[in-house]
């Protein structure tokens, strides 16, 4: 048995109510684990893209792809090759920052990570950061000592590099 790791599956689905339920329900029913899922519109208004990160061994992920393909409203399923993709995730992080030293530290770290401060209150700063999951994890680790009050992450979204694209007639 091959070892368990994260795999990114990109799917094109019908952009209509109930499809997200159908997909997530299949994962639940078959006992597959979703690490993250992000859903959004595509270049075609009647299609949506779901980018699903799954943890499992090779055989499990193969089954996931087959079971996704079986769903009628799922039009295209592709496993993305980790060596040849761009992945991004966005996170909003609210950090406790009362004294000015902490505030300037947070702002400095944010600069280094090409993140932005998007909200300021008397007791906290909100930072917006975009990048790979690893980058966001690293930034979050740095923020922990200050006191992370809230985090919202979008989950991974991804596309293959190069000219290759998925067109649906």
């Amino acid at each position: 048995m091959s070892k368990e790791q994260n795999h990114i599956i990109s799917t094109i689905v019908e952009h209509k109510p109930g499809v997200l339920y159908m997909v997530s329900n299949m994962f639940r029913r078959r006992g597959f684990n979703i690490e993250s899922i992000s859903v959004g519109s595509t270049e075609q208004s009647d299609l949506a893209r779901m980018t699903i990160t799954v943890n499992g061994d090779e055989r499990t992920v193969e089954q996931v792809v087959k079971q996704l393909n079986k769903l009628i409203d799922v039009i295209k399923v592709s496993r993305l090759d980790p060596a040849n993709i761009v992945t991004r995730e966005l996170a909003l992080i609210k950090v406790r920052a009362i004294d000015t030293k902490v505030r300037s530290d947070v702002i400095n770290y944010a600069d280094i990570f090409r993140a932005r401060v998007v909200d300021v209150s008397s007791e906290s700063l909100m930072v917006e950061i975009t990048g790979t999951s690893d980058k966001i994890n690293a930034f979050l680790d740095l923020m922990k000592p200050f006191g992370v009050k809230e985090v919202a992450r979008t989950g991974i979204t991804a596309l293959s590099r190069g000219v290759k694209s998925v067109k649906i007639e």
């Binding site: 339920y21 299949m26 055989r59 087959k66 393909n69 009628i72 799922v74």
Partner: protein, 566 residues
């Protein structure tokens, strides 16, 4: 474009699909549809419980090969269908359900979706994991297209149940309707042609095989591939075992037939499949009841797996040659290639081994002469019934006795709940099968426990004039669980004793059906012959010993090599 109501459009769309019969129960949210149905010429059979409407539609579909249709109102009507839908899903049966639903919108009351209205249930949410496709129609004009889609999806590729939910105001809404034959589904293109390279690999394995064996599943019946399977098996002198769902796809009186493999498979099949060097699995999902523990299943065989559902390949068993395609077409192509490459095989050492084992275990399958043992009764029944008679079963010991001891010669003549194992399936399925094939004798092999679960359909069978025969193997027990408790729980019976209630003869008579109790094989034989001529349903009550076991048996969690022969 034609102007009509949603209900009228639905009935029109059903006629386009050549629907002749609907099984169902009416209710508040589906009255508009029934109002149109009344004068449509489509026969509506009023079952006495919605579960039975779904099972009857299922029996109709399996017996005829055409889709079965059932209908129920919103809320409890719809949820009562659920067991029947799940049953059809696991056995890949094209059952199409229509459910009423509360209004999508109401200006005058809160009788609408999302307000927890009277008899509102989220049937789309509930049936998503047990349907191939389901859909709530939001606008009347979408009805013709949605019905076409539901039939197309239910009957093509790997068949399965579909459901359309119809809000009441959508049934009454009048709009322009467009009817065409066009079905467009971007996300659904079942592959029916086998890949030539995979076929070549399969052919090579089969030519080189010394001990090839077929495991034929329900997919062979669904794709009507029995003639192709027979030709291929005879060409290679290759024995054929079937899964429980495959029973009937290969004539069981054929010298190459081994019967079923699995938990209650025949000794010969369970033994020979482990000796095989090439396993040709066709239209099977390698269910746990077929394979036993996986690590002991066909350890030395190369496995060729033909299935139209790509997700079945490699799901339970790793295979050497996967072929995603229609069974009929694939078997035809394989045989065509083989015919050019080899001569008709004669009696090989492998065939002699098949003969030897079949003869060896024949005596163990011989029920002896004790008068009313179920195996003997089933053998007697086989002698009485013509080859095209349809046998349905309930679930439990009755089912396994029927599978083991009632020889089946033709596909679609053995109908049983394989995947879900639904007690109560057999009787309503028998009614559906009889409606589909009025010229065939239809017999339900039942246990007293199972029959009680849907026995109220005696009323349906009498009033709708659908005569079938129910043989109740009556041990006053939930027999299969009792058997497990005897064998594996130190005879500690728990919650399995049903007692002597009801009197099945009087029960049948109360419904206006015939009831008869038999105490010997001769009496059974007479009662059965009389039942076949009867114009009403007959219930034959056959008291048997509560200590009766079904053998052979593979204990749960064991491998096929651990088959207990009794």
């Amino acid at each position: 474009m034609v102007k009509m109501s949603g209900a009228q459009a639905l009935v029109e769309a059903l006629k386009q699909q050549n629907v002749e019969v609907i099984f169902g129960i009416v209710g508040g949210a589906i009255i508009p549809l029934h109002d149109v149905l009344r004068d449509s010429g489509i026969r509506h059979i009023l079952t006495r419980h919605e579960q039975c409407a779904a099972h009857a539609a299922d029996g109709y579909a399996r017996a005829s090969g055409r889709p079965g249709v059932c209908m129920a109102t919103s809320g409890p009507g719809a949820t009562n269908l659920v067991t029947g839908i799940a049953n059809a899903y696991l056995d890949s049966s094209p059952v199409i359900s229509f459910t009423g639903q509360v209004n999508t919108f109401s200006a005058i009351s809160s009788y609408m979706i999302g307000r927890d209205a009277f008899q509102e249930a989220d049937i789309i949410g509930i049936t998503t994991p047990i349907t191939k496709y389901n859909c709530q129609v939001k606008k009347a004009s979408e009805i013709p297209k949605t019905v076409r889609l539901a039939f197309h999806l239910a009957t093509t590729g790997r068949p399965g149940p579909t459901l359309i939910d119809l809000p009441k105001n959508v049934q009454t809404e009048v709009d322009e309707m467009e009817f065409s034959d066009n079905v467009e589904v971007r996300g659904y293109k079942p592959k029916t042609e086998p890949h030539p390279i995979q076929v070549k690999k399969a052919v090579k394995l089969l030519i080189e095989a010394k001990r090839p064996i077929v495991l034929a599943g329900g997919g062979v019946i669904i794709s009507n591939a029995s003639p192709e399977l027979l030709e291929l098996a005879e060409l290679l002198m290759m024995p054929v075992s079937t899964t429980f769902m495959g029973k009937g796809c290969f004539p069981e009186n054929h010298p190459l037939s081994l019967g079923d493999v699995g938990m209650h498979g025949t000794c010969a099949a369970n033994k020979l499949i482990l000796e095989a060097d090439v396993l040709l699995a066709v239209g099977t999902r390698f269910s746990d009841r077929t394979t036993g523990t996986l690590d002991q299943f066909c350890p030395d065989a190369k496995i060729i797996h033909i299935d139209i559902d790509a997700a079945e390949i490699g799901k339970n068993v790793e295979v050497d040659v996967p072929i995603v395609a229609d069974a009929k077409e694939t078997l035809r192509v394989i045989r065509q290639l083989l015919v050019h490459q080899l001569k008709q095989r004669e009696n090989s050492p492998w065939f002699n081994r098949v003969k030897e084992l079949k003869e060896q275990f024949q005596s163990e399958m011989d029920p002896g002469d004790c008068d009313l043992k179920p195996p003997l009764l089933l053998k007697e029944l086989r002698k009485i019934l013509p080859a095209n008679a349809i046998l349905t079963t309930e679930v439990g010991q009755n089912q396994m006795w029927a599978a083991l001891h009632f020889e089946t010669y033709k596909p679609r003549t053995f109908i049983s709940s394989g995947g879900l194992g639904t007690m109560g399936f057999g009787f309503p399925a028998a009614l559906g099968a009889k409606v589909a094939c009025p010229g065939c004798a239809v017999v339900d092999i039942a246990g007293d426990g199972s029959f009680r679960m849907t026995e109220q359909e005696l009323a349906c069978s009498v009033t709708e004039k659908i005569p079938v025969t129910v043989i109740v193997l009556n041990n006053s027990m939930l027999g299969m669980v009792a058997q497990w408790q005897r064998l594996f729980y130190d005879r500690r019976y728990s919650a399995v004793e049903l007692g002597s209630s009801p009197d099945f003869v009087k029960l049948a008579e109360a419904y206006g059906a015939q009831g008869v109790r038999v105490g010997s094989l001769r009496e059974f034989s007479e009662a059965m012959k009389k039942a076949l001529k009867s114009e009403v349903t007959t219930v034959i009550d056959v008291p048997i010993s509560p200590e009766e076991n079904v053998f052979p048996m593979v204990p749960a969690g064991k491998g096929l090599k651990d088959t207990i022969s009794g």
